[in-house]
Symmetry: C2
Subunit: 411 residues, 2 copies
């Protein structure tokens, strides 16, 4: 079942994207704001991450505890997080709780208390989360890889830095919040058993008075291809890599999605079958896309034992490179049905629907219907896909973490 | 929207549980078999876990690669895993792929090749997964806590043991499979956009010929309350504990669910607010229920810094104990709406619906309708809940992991 996606713009710059799923009793919403970790000023890494927590610690006279209790009383689950370019604040609840839930979100974003004692708690937790990375080698690795990949502030992650937290104080962050927390460029996506009329009326009631500045964007820059190693006394060797791909606005977006699916989409996909099943090299291997507004990239991960690390990095990079030699008709069909099935299943969940609506609009300035995506995928011939793949020449940024250096591969 | 749940028994002992969700184009299914890690023979820990992987590595003349490729061609996502008492094999796909997907699952379970070379790959991966636990302190901790909690073979986890893997060979596991992989006591739960008639016809077509023995059950035994510490050079201190609670068949099941929700259900819940928000002691804290057929227990986890570990264990155990002094009306209402909202949202997803249908039938021998659960939760008064809570006296089994011993608390 598929229904219409509508976009409505408020005068303050907020865009409301909505899709009704009239057979459901629940509704999910994602509020996407146009700032993220890349907006952390130099020396204040982690600022936007602390802000994400701080905003919901009391608003308009309500205390932090009162906001939490009110959301609990509505049965509303809150989620979201700080990305590189955007911050998301999401909720899921019964349709009957939508009005009150949205009110609490609007208050928190437009009239947050931003009290000093709550700043301290939020910062303390963010610091602890950064420290806890030491016990999670694969997450630590991805945070570090980001620094080897991006030469601009896009290298920042939501974990922040020890230096950033030590410099950060409530006054500084309150000033930063004035510049960043804004309806301009923001998107509120809503999906579930609620009509467009009701959504727009509710959003107007609570969000229309919200005002803010235009959020600046930072130019994205990359480092050159590289391979580095982090010595750590871990039991396994963790390998992560990244290389440039394309954005949803560029030609070849669907071809790229099919290629990633051939590599890592299903149980018979190349990485799983060549690296894991056939050679037993790793207990975990995958490749996936990451997309920013002006840049798309592919990341891959493999976890293995120290004695198999050299072989793993060779096979992994070979497989990623070999895709440029083309795929066969069976691989294309498996990848296509995999993506089409996913499309249907994600379309049945309010949570992933709301999140996809917000991201799609953020990335390409409009929403693609499931029908449009389906047709685009179905229209790609094997010849067309393989022509595209010939142009794919991955330029790796590789980072490994483990008890000893691993083999250097061609970059 | 709520539709009828039907149960159908096959002559071979397999029970089919089905709920139609006619507004959906996808379908999910969970096949629950009546054996789990607790059935690993002594000295062969990890056997059922290797078996879970091995079963899907080829059947009825099809190779492992052919099975994987076929499932990919259908757009079917496979999941599941090895629990303590049960093993699950689950899938999600478009309704149009249901027939062929179910056929592949039936072949894999009733006519698996169980080839020697595939055994070696499956065992190698399971061994690597066990080794990788060393880099994941919190998961390692829960595996070890299981050994401190259960005195019977229920202490086994799906990770197995190094000794178990070294003893295990293909011939031994093939014999074990004959005793364990059986339709007797097995449950196939199906939820999604497919009619009961179609489901039963498909199941009969592919599963009716499957035969097997009755799977024995092991008597469950617990160790006495205890507190132990694992010295490991981690950056954080990880604390886990477990204590007996009740099963879904016992009176007080809903009261217990409400109590866990008061402790850990939402953002204003006691653990989150007392341990995390108010005192900033931990970056992560939670409590949750685990249910076996004849035993229910509550587990809790907290991750903190070494200097805050003593305070954290005190506050955590105090909060868990204090619940016996009762909750207030507001807490009850927040917990109730939280559980009711969850019930609706889980009921809208085919995956969690199928999994819940299988578990419910396994645990209590029937399926509770959402309406029944809703009424049961709504009928509980504050007085009734607090009377129940008076009888709750947690007897802790506590395990911590970190660079140094932590404070001993009252057990």
């Amino acid at each position: 079942m598929s229904t219409i996606i509508t976009q409505t713009s408020l005068d303050n710059g907020l865009t409301v994207v909505h899709q009704e799923m009239p057979w459901l009793s629940s509704v999910s919403f994602t509020l996407l704001l146009a700032y993220g970790a890349a907006h952390d000023p130099k020396g204040y890494e982690g600022a936007t991450s602390v802000l994400h927590d701080w905003l919901f610690r009391g608003a308009n006279g309500l205390s932090s505890k009162e906001i939490s209790n009110s959301l609990d009383s509505l049965g509303t689950r809150r989620g979201g997080g700080t990305g590189k370019e955007v911050s998301t604040f999401s909720g899921s609840c019964l349709v009957s709780s939508f009005d009150e839930s949205l009110k609490l979100f609007a208050l928190s974003l437009s009239q947050a208390n931003l009290a000093d004692d709550e700043f301290n708690s939020a910062k303390l937790l963010a610091q602890q989360e950064l420290e806890s990375l030491q016990d999670s080698p694969s997450q630590l690795l991805f945070r570090q890889l980001s620094k080897e990949y991006f030469a601009s502030s896009h290298s920042n992650s939501s974990y922040g830095s020890a230096e950033g937290f030590s410099n950060l104080n409530a006054k500084y962050l309150k000033n930063l919040a004035k510049k960043l927390v804004s309806p301009q460029g923001a998107i509120l996506a809503v999906a579930g058993g609620i009509s467009n009329e009701k959504v727009i009326a509710t959003v107007n009631k609570y969000f229309a008075a919200w005002q803010g500045q235009k959020v600046p964007t930072n130019t994205l820059k990359l480092h050159k291809p590289t391979q580095k190693h982090i010595n750590q006394d871990s039991s396994q060797v963790h390998i992560a890599l990244a290389y440039p791909a394309i954005t949803p606005k560029q030609d070849g977006w669907y071809e790229n999605a099919l290629a990633i699916s051939v590599l890592s989409g299903g149980m018979g996909a190349r990485l799983f079958s060549e690296v894991r099943e056939k050679r037993g090299l790793v207990y975990s291997v995958s490749a996936f896309s990451r997309v920013l507004k002006t840049h798309g990239y592919t990341m891959a991960y493999a976890g293995t034992t120290p004695d198999k690390a050299d072989k793993t990095i060779s096979v992994l990079t070979d497989e990623l490179r070999n895709i440029s030699k083309g795929v066969n008709q069976n691989e294309l069909e498996r990848a296509r049905i995999g993506l089409l099935s996913q499309l249907v299943m994600q379309g049945e969940s309010t949570g992933s629907k709301a999140s996809n609506l917000a991201n799609d609009y953020y990335l390409i300035g409009r929403n693609r219907s499931p029908q449009e995506i389906k047709e685009s995928l179905n229209n790609i011939s094997l010849e067309q896909l393989n022509e595209f793949l010939k142009t794919c020449n991955p330029e790796f940024r590789i980072l490994s973490l483990g008890p000893k250096e691993i083999k250097k591969v061609e970059l």
